[in-house]
Symmetry: D2
Subunit: 367 residues, 4 copies
């Protein structure tokens, strides 16, 4: 019912006049973010996955790792060689551990590729912040300075012109979408911001860890990395930019017994006690009026993560507690889609000059 409108330019057709899809490559396709990215790209009308690279899985057919996708993709995971990738691909997604993307990106960029990094390597304006929180020294300041933070709702235009995008973490995506209108418009006291975030376990990746076993994580909830999670400085960097001054936030992640989804419950003191909930709903709707993936809930409606899961959507619910003078904002996303692979595709769409909704799922997987 909802067909995408695509305007092709001449170069999208080969000399025989056949439509030619953009060739994309994925480094690190076998993790949860990677396999989600593969699925989204398979369903994308204007790209073709022509390369998959990996380390521990080199030489394996992708279908041997994910047998249920054998009918949909027939690629073998190759050894990672940026030179080879650059020859074969126009767009490259790096879904790799922190500290690896910054070794590949400069080569890919030099060869003219557009690069979307899903790791933390290109999220920071200030590399010393990166080094302090991630424990890795970096010297690629020049490359890093060209990277754009891939949150389209805030940086749509810059992403459209970027060659290198550092895609946000899952928690920062949910948290910043909840906080941005408030900070941008100076509606809250920034230092009162508390983000209590809850995530499904797929955010922890596909690595075998005891605490992620169903027998451990099911029917239980706990906080982790309290006051020290690496997504904190990432959130603060953007909050500071929005507020126009240094902002420190309280961020607490929790592990929830579910596969997908993040809910960020955000608290902050309103500057103006006269603002009521309906005002804020109006403000949020205006702020996101050009953002097709953001849906602001009606009054008295609070989103559940299930609504967003399976889609690239972010639902935001808003409440004001007149007793305490606080606003409570609840944002939900699918951590693997809007929080990771879907957002990267959204960024690619912008970088390619396409509609930012192109090829992305709009309807949550419900029930």
């Amino acid at each position: 019912m909802t067909k995408q409108q695509i305007t092709k330019t001449d170069k999208d057709f080969d000399i025989m006049g056949n439509y030619r899809r953009v060739r994309v490559g994925i480094v690190g396709a076998s993790g949860y973010g990677g396999v989600q990215l593969v699925r989204l790209l398979i369903d994308h009308p204007d790209v073709e996955v022509v390369y998959m690279g990996g380390d521990s899985t080199t030489g394996k057919k992708f279908a041997d790792i994910y047998p249920h996708l054998a009918h949909a993709i027939n690629l073998t995971v190759e050894k990672v060689d940026p030179e080879v990738i650059a020859e074969r691909c126009e767009v490259v997604f790096l879904s790799v551990p922190n500290g690896l993307a910054c070794q590949m990106a400069p080569i890919l960029l030099a060869k003219g590729c557009k690069v979307l990094d899903l790791s933390a390597d290109y999220r920071f304006t200030n590399l010393s912040t990166y080094s302090a929180w991630y424990g890795k020294e970096r010297s690629d300041n020049e490359t890093a300075s060209k990277a754009v933070y891939g949150l389209p709702e805030l940086y749509r235009e810059r992403i459209a012109e970027a060659q290198l995008v550092g895609c946000p973490g899952c928690y920062p995506t949910a948290s910043l979408l909840a906080l941005s209108p408030l900070l941008k418009q100076g509606l809250i006291v920034p230092e009162t911001a508390i983000i209590d975030a809850k995530s499904g376990t797929s955010g922890g990746g596909r690595e075998a860890k005891v605490n992620m076993l169903l027998a451990e994580a099911d029917n239980s909830i706990a906080a982790y990395a309290v006051a020290k999670h690496r997504h904190t400085p990432e959130i603060e960097q953007i909050c500071s930019e929005l507020a126009g001054h240094e902002v420190t936030v309280q961020f607490t992640p929790h592990l929830v017994p579910m596969v997908r989804g993040i809910l960020s419950t955000v608290y902050a003191n309103l500057r103006d006690p006269g603002l009521v909930r309906d005002d804020l709903i109006t403000i949020y709707r205006a702020f996101y009026r050009n953002s097709p993936w953001i849906k602001i809930c009606d009054a008295d409606t609070y989103p559940q993560t299930k609504w967003a899961c399976g889609s690239n959507l972010c639902y935001i619910g808003i409440e004001v507690d007149t007793r305490t003078g606080r606003i409570i904002v609840m944002s939900v996303i699918d951590n693997l889609i809007k929080g990771q692979a879907g957002q990267a595709v959204q960024c690619m769409n912008l970088m390619m000059g396409w509609d930012e909704t192109l090829g992305l799922p709009k309807l949550g997987f419900y029930p």
Copy 2:
């Protein structure tokens, strides 16, 4: 990456030359099968949902029932009047309780609509079987005799020519896809067939029932309706047709602590003890060679329901126990898609002369 090939005929265009989608209606859109159907039809390139009917929800906006779909569909649930429906729709899906479809279908058919019934009303060749198991008298023999059982993998051609399709139950879909090659080719002793089926709780519908509460159903598994589930005669009817004689099967459904998915573990004694697993894999692949939604697993690979969930696929794994002379077949589907709404859309595709994969999801929602 995988675009559908659609050949339009002239009548698909209005007098202004604009492409015109087929207008479809849904009666009973607010249940789990209904909302899944709505989502599939929203994503379908060649149809437009123009009508929603309901009983308890009459007058409500669909978006009030499912707020997270407000951006995707803007219809109000209307009182059910077959005359009105027939005027507005070319294709009508009936997702209603048993015993209601048979009151509406004759009117809709008389007005020229194509009708897909997701209830049990038109699944039985012999209405006395229906009456015995469903406890409702029926007199619409003539209409019933025209209905085709909507399992495309067995009745593709008849569905293509049908005006009325009785869509199979979720358990029969999984069970019959597992058993059909064996029965059709006389490979097993039919009376030894045992179907041990496991379903997620969404199969029980969206009605509030104590035994379906998370607090009751989570972290627990149990059998129910043992030796008396209503899907038994439906399975037996098709098995008998395939075998060429009356077949009785053992069918036991179980409630599993998960939302979606059915796994049918089917046991039967092989007639020929010389048949080995690889023979049977070959036989299944040949049987389903023209069925794009059926995937036969490689040897030693047993499907999990998660592979199929979110797609219209059925994965089938095969094992032979040479110690006992039995074949064990495991089939998995998404109970709300291939087991219900997706299969109905697949049938509609056939009835409309379209590719049977048109508009349906091919990639399971993983992880």
Copy 3:
């Protein structure tokens, strides 16, 4: 290994010299709190359940409601008549909807029974607060003024002397155990206190509700009753008493896809920025040194709800964020045990002069 030390007084023996257990009754035994209470009392060495009352279940055998407990208890649910109950029981637990306990308690008290009310009726010192939040007028000020709030860790001595105990709600239990040392000792700025609480779905009771279906609630998390949950004034009443002045808190409950357990993540600004985490751990351990059910975690250890589930324990983890000057306290309980039935038994133990650990489970149900 851990035997309870029980000192019996003469009246515990009948005239034949046989040990006589205390006779207890339960009104409302068929809900989740009720059945948990029944199980705890069955395992309690010094009581005997001699009466069960109910409304919708009158006349049913308890074993018909919970067939798996048929071997352990053989009682029939009786019509509720306080006069009859008082004749048969020395201790009565009221596990009934709000507004009913206040009709029964005065009669039971007048007849000399000890009464433990698990509803909200006797939690409030100020009945106008109750009426404002629960929408029910009350005139039993005299009875209410005698009730003691049943949180033993704060009111051990008063409970021991009480005839009527208003047992706390599940959220207030977890929240107050986390906050009490801070408020009592003036360590935080009270108005900065934010309680982000997460609960399993059994807290919603055994009533059939669509939003509590496994198909709805599984694999999803959402906030509810934001800024208006009825447990807010209950938390504030005790916080105010501890702080010595009126305190307003921010309280947000969330529904988590698990059966049991509550995690309260509590944030507050420390008055003294020089306090470090180890100081606070020491302070908490000292505060709860006589509270056998409270366990303060070591540094860097954050509790998960699973640790507490199946026991009457509350585990508390503590973190201080030196960047923000906030303390983050995480407390976990089993909502049906320490948050409801277990705490009521703990109160009964105190009222009877027994060890407060008597008969209660000490080891979480893990994994």
Copy 4:
């Protein structure tokens, strides 16, 4: 309410007249079976855990592995040395990988310990069956021939006199309790027996494996080890003994998205088509009349695993399908209690001359 009656003999008291508990040791306490065993033994009135041995955890405090049990046990995991264990313990539980128990047991037995092995090492009368299925050569025929299979409902007397007990696997426990009355009394055609078993993931142990991650195993069900699971020969050995001739069974295990619990759905053809369900319920109740842990459900009641979880109980439901001539038996247990640690304690109780229910939980953890 239900106090155990214990008769002590003189040797249970030390020379000072104090009651002396039996000293037990556990080798392999850190796995799921081990930690369950620890919890049961802590709650057991007549034993004291004085030793814990382990390999990878040597030198660690048990409380560092399971911080939530720190208040209940204060032991350090020691290097495994059978000589030392024998000096310190009267009873030793071996909760170790297959192939290790047979190296320790002979030493422990020679020193006079009673030994309960929870691995597969002493389950087989015929060591060549063990070697064929477990791939390990064995030469300790003499020790093995003295071992008794630790299923008290079948071998109560032999266990009581044994010095070495080979505790059954979790699947065999559930399956044999369902099948025994039928085989013992010749009511079924043995070769028609099909066991379709469903287990929670804790049965897979606490090892970090990708397929056991919550993100993989949640919301999904699949069969595994079809026609080749190692519990097959164990089931067949006992079935053959009961039937009086060699019996081959079909056994298929499934992984269910829950932590604990096994449901075995067992199918078999009745020899006598005249037997009805009520006859069979009567037969089962008679068969288990002296087995306090077995509960036979009323007609039309099918057990769910949740009923048994948290207890040492096995609930059995029975149905007869008069259309097919088959009996369907459904048995549920807690795989870590009756299927493992609880059954071992039940065996110890018998070996010590105690009541077999001593110290074991009788009330399922519900909801």
